[in-house]
Symmetry: C2
Subunit: 357 residues, 2 copies
DNA sequence: CCGATTGATTGAATCGATTCAATCAAGCGA
DNA sequence: TCGCTTGATTGAATCGATTCAATCAATCGG
């Protein structure tokens, strides 16, 4: 009994009930060649004589054969998949980055597994394990807290590039210099003649926000001034428009400086709204600068001066670095890249004010 | 020579040069059990006596073993991956949908391969082939034009649910009723007493835009009026803020109706901007309604009345349907789900106007 | 006209985990 | 103490494609 039909379970159902997912073997049978030849036409077409090739390709088309990537991968072929783990798919920042990554990956024939750690290190680890199990070719990661050690990645043979996270010298990463961005913004305001500047910050749990605060102070120090006298900090729990409104109201209660720099554009929009309601004009009464340069900034009622992050570049550079890492042999040198943001000056920051320091 | 070390190429390097990616075999060797037992501790822990289990688990931990998903899949285990092919990752709509899909998939222990067809049917086919090759468990697709036939998907054993696309009765799909959405919007304007309504449409190549136009006309017919007399259509090539501005300028040239319904919120924002510049007040002089209810709509200078699509629901319902399809045996019935959008009334549409029809 | 060379094709081993039948050991009743 | 049941563990076959050595055929020079 056991030997009567030892290996044709699949074939039977394939022959009788339905088409069944065609295997390479089926193609070979239909084309009247061996399995090896079919494989060759797919992977080394030059080794196969044209007539045979057409024969095989016809059979493939006829059966609608799609080679099993798992079997292929098992034999050692490099996977065509890379992983991307971000903190929050919902954020426009990561969305744009993901877009760039997807595009860059596509250019070299790869697809992307996208997932979100939701800022949870435990979930992050779980996701990395899944990616390792999938034997993806490599992965891009924005760590929730500290990323797994480089040893973890090399142990799992999982090339990694950290995204928007300044790591150590023994790993690859690409980050944006938030300190520099804020520095540009505040320097701009100081150059316009503002003597006191408010910094509306989002949650300080975010490295980015802390960096932007640092940059603001640095710009003031650069100008030979005292941050303690020039900077007014307002810290919000969130970073939406509503938080910006609250921040502006807090400022209104204590006296609004002539310039406000916000940790991101949403906060700036909120601040704008609240200040307008209070009868203040932008930029005549208050100069306003945001951060991120979201799509909307240029189209806001008063076009918003903002710091543009090279998100696109972030995604594509990181992907390129990853491919370098993936394809590079063991002689791969870890590289760290810091991208510089750019200040986009629009109407909201206004013109130089008369010196009344 | 050939037989001297027939199978230990990997083992050698593993033993001598570096750690090497540990295989199940290595775990078995370290734990002093057979491969089968290791597999059992992973997949049928109850079949293995507790002491052996700890032994094996220790070995797994010690080696940092992560089972090869490809080998697993090859043996027939269901993949933990689903595919998602959208038209454009960049758009907020798909971003939000992707987010919902990712979340729903995660809840049942799956990850998502995200990719964008960029509205190109050729690329769409290529992506679907990749997904089929990866033997993903199933896939969600927003077709660029007509999707591949249900036969294609069943041939490749690739369960599919069409996303935001009303397909046929022999496939699964989830879509939003754009006709109904526009109908709600225009009915609202008519009920407020507006006798003439402009419809600012985006590119008519988009099914959505055409449907919204239909809905606008339907609402007028519902009210017993003649669309030819009531509706003024303005068609734009794009659907950004700039296009909205152009549309408004065209309206201004011919005389602006007392109400404007826009194919999406961006167009509405542009219209708002242009009308304000022309000295018209919203909603006092012109009532304005958008579509999509993007994050910004509520926070716009004059909070925008808009039609909210249940995008989140779209993503999660589609994913649930896909899982039903994937896990369901052949007795799976194809299901079609149409989600209803909702009108969110805010200030921009104003209050009832005095009857001056 | 024969041996050698080139090139196309085939066959079999292989990747790593699963699974089922087979084995092995322990425990139990008689 | 022997046979039998029960349950843990092992071994071998298997999934589907790749690849390399082996085979087979044809062509060419001598």
């Amino acid at each position: 009994m056991r030997n009567a039909e030892p290996k044709s379970r699949r074939s039977i159902s394939s022959g009788s009930t339905g088409p069944g997912r065609p295997r390479l073997k089926d193609v070979a049978a239909l084309a009247g060649v061996s399995a090896g030849t079919v494989s060759h036409t797919l992977n080394h077409p030059e080794r196969v004589v044209p007539e045979t090739r057409t024969l095989v390709l016809d059979a493939i088309r006829q059966l609608g054969f799609v080679p099993n990537a798992h079997a292929r991968a098992l034999k050692g072929a490099a996977s065509q998949v890379i992983g991307l783990v971000v903190l929050d798919i919902g954020s426009p920042f990561f969305m744009e980055a993901a877009r760039a990554v997807e595009r860059s990956a596509r250019e070299v024939g790869h697809v992307v597994i996208l997932s979100s750690s939701d800022d949870d290190p435990v979930r992050e680890t779980a996701l990395l394990r899944i990616l390792a199990a999938q034997r993806v070719r490599g992965c891009l990661l924005t760590p929730a807290e500290a990323p797994p050690s480089p040893a973890w990645f090399s142990r799992h043979r999982l090339p990694v590039v950290l995204l928007d996270y300044p790591g150590g010298a023994t790993e690859c990463w690409v980050a944006v210099d938030h300190v520099a961005g804020a520095r540009l913004a505040v320097r701009h305001l100081l150059e316009l003649g503002h003597a006191r500047v408010a910094f509306v910050s989002g949650p300080v749990a975010l490295r980015q926000m802390v960096d932007r605060g640092k940059g603001a102070r640095a710009a003031i120090v650069d100008a030979g001034l005292d941050p303690g006298e020039v900077l007014v900090e307002v810290i919000q729990e969130g970073f939406g428009i509503a938080d910006g409104i609250v921040a502006a109201e807090r400022l209104l209660a204590t006296g609004v400086p002539s310039a406000v720099f916000c940790g991101n554009d949403m906060l700036a929009f909120g601040v704008y709204r609240a200040l307008r309601r209070a009868g203040l004009r932008i930029p005549d009464d208050v100069a306003l600068v945001g951060y991120d340069d979201v799509d909307f900034a240029a189209d806001w009622a008063v076009p918003l001066t903002s710091v543009r992050q090279p998100i696109d570049q972030l995604g594509s550079v990181a992907t390129q670095l990853l491919f370098e890492h993936m394809t590079g042999q063991s002689e791969h040198m870890h590289r760290q890249i810091v991208l510089q943001p750019e200040l986009v000056v629009r109407e909201s920051s206004g013109r130089p004010i008369d010196g009344r320091s």
